[in-house]
């Protein structure tokens, strides 16, 4: 169930250029089901900034009632969020949306996880969960430059991990799709989160594979009521449109018109 809670900041640190790792504690963690769900965060009590910020859940520790979020402090809201200190309370609404379907991969199979920039975080919980059920995971993570890379060690601990940087300053050079074309990894299902052009390129790279993509759109409510975040669907789907916040943010490949 969706809940609103003032969650407590446990840890908060910078892990790459403008990228922060935020660990929150609260009952809301009990409600977190699927990797790929997100929370909607109010960054201050003021009305300026006004709206909540959608941030993916990066990892869930139900035992300690803790969850980890990774975010880029870019605009005004996330910059304010980055000032929170351990012990501070953060107004969180969540968990929201439907995450990546774990049952699309079976034990013994291989899943390819492809993340771009700030789309990487939700893949981390996904990788852990897939591992737990005996699915091998290959991780391909793309970043702008060496200073932007994060969570390499964490992913490596879970499986084969390739880092790609656009400027070649770390790992291999280019886009994730360049590496995929070159390495041609064998896998059964792909899961991806990142900028829309990347998602599109991936769909095109694997025309015949089962896959799941996580989308971003500007949001109002985050719960499906305001129609801010709709995306157009392909002809393969009966509905005209879907809401990223409540129908997604993860959709099966071929559902969203790209």
């Amino acid at each position: 169930m969706i809940q609103q809670e003032k969650m407590k900041v446990i840890h908060h640190r910078s892990i790459a250029t403008n990228i922060y790792e935020l660990v929150l504690h609260g009952q809301l963690v009990n409600e977190m089901k699927n990797p790929g769900q997100f929370v909607h965060i109010r960054v201050s009590d003021s009305y300026e900034p006004l709206l909540r910020r959608p941030i993916s859940i990066c990892s869930i520790d139900q035992e300690n009632l803790e969850c980890t979020l990774l975010y880029r402090a870019g605009g005004r809201g996330t910059q304010l969020l980055s000032l929170k200190q351990p012990g501070d309370m953060v107004d969180v609404l969540g968990p929201l949306g439907n995450g990546f379907p774990l049952d699309a991969s079976n034990s013994g199979e291989t899943a390819l996880l492809i993340g771009g920039g700030i789309g990487v975080p939700p893949l981390y919980e996904l990788a852990s969960r897939l591992q737990q059920k005996g699915v091998r995971t290959i991780h391909v993570l793309g970043f702008q430059s060496i200073g932007d890379v994060f969570y390499e060690e964490q992913f490596k601990a879970l499986g084969e991990t390739h880092i790609v940087t656009a400027d070649g300053s770390y790992g291999s050079k280019g886009f994730v799709t360049d590496l995929l074309m070159q390495e041609k990894p064998e896998f059964d299902v792909f899961y991806s989160c990142g900028p829309t052009p990347m998602l599109k390129a991936i769909e095109q790279t694997y025309p015949d594979k089962l896959g799941f993509l996580s989308f971003e759109e500007r949001m109002g409510c985050g719960i499906g009521a305001c129609y801010a975040c709709v995306c157009e669907t392909t002809d393969a789907v009966s509905q005209d449109y879907l809401k990223v916040c409540s129908d997604g943010p993860v959709f099966k490949r071929g559902v969203v018109a790209l």
């Binding site: 006004l50 809201g77 109002g220 009521a225 305001c226 129609y227 801010a228 709709v230 409540s246």
Partner: protein, 303 residues
Amino acid sequence: MNRLQIELPGLSLKNPIIPASGCFGFGQEFANLYDLSTLGAIMIKATTLETRRGNPTPRVAETSSGMLNAIGLQNPGLEHVMEHELPWLEQFDVPIIANVAGTEMTDYVAVAERISTANNVKALELNISCPNVKCGGIQFGTDAKIAGELTAAVKAVSEVPVYVKLSPNVTNIVEIAKEVEASGADGITMINTLVGMRLNPSTGKPIIANGTGGLSGPAVKPVAIRMVYEVSKEISIPIIGMGGVTNAEDVIDFLSAGASAVGVGTANFVDPFVCPKIIEELPQKLDEIGYSKLTDLIGRSHR
């Protein structure tokens, strides 16, 4: 005695808190969060004759203490609303105010005629003020004569009282309110959004795909209060006030200015539990200012 009770044409409200149209869908999402029967009423999303797909995304942009939206009246159309949304809402003990929109006058009339027959629709809200659609919408709300004609046409077919939702994007809102009253409206709802724009400083282009959007939230409250104040002095039908309501104090301000109930829009995005929270706060606020019931506050700014 229920200190929060408000009686309006067609509407017997347990309290004056009404989620505003377009900010609450058809209630489903919020029903997962709390019991909708606690609300005074619900203004459902604008309904048009046919399904509408709305504007391209991005459809929202944040501004200082406010937001812009250009949803473009996306909705599943009259038939779907009659067959699915409204019957589903019947499980709650809450009157529905159906927000009616269209492109031509005949659209409004057709939607009004049909939707006003639904069991739980206790009033209509004529959306003559949506700034986000190319045809219809706001033109009806910026010309007093056309607004009056539309009101009369809808009144002629509606089974329930008709409220007309005014646009703040006008030189003289009092004139439009008077014309609408003279044409038979049972009430006024106000304000819809102010037309605004936000640019992306890097590209210089509008953030909202539609270019302009409607400004709502706390930023517009002073404009809304001023307009409710001015209009309520000049008309005798009741007003449902809105624009930036986020807490019980805002409700008191709108009632003091002359409204009889309030719509709560954008605040639902900031805090989805805001409506029940305000309802809970109201009695205490009444005590603080020394009033026994809400109705005593209505229009006290004029007295």
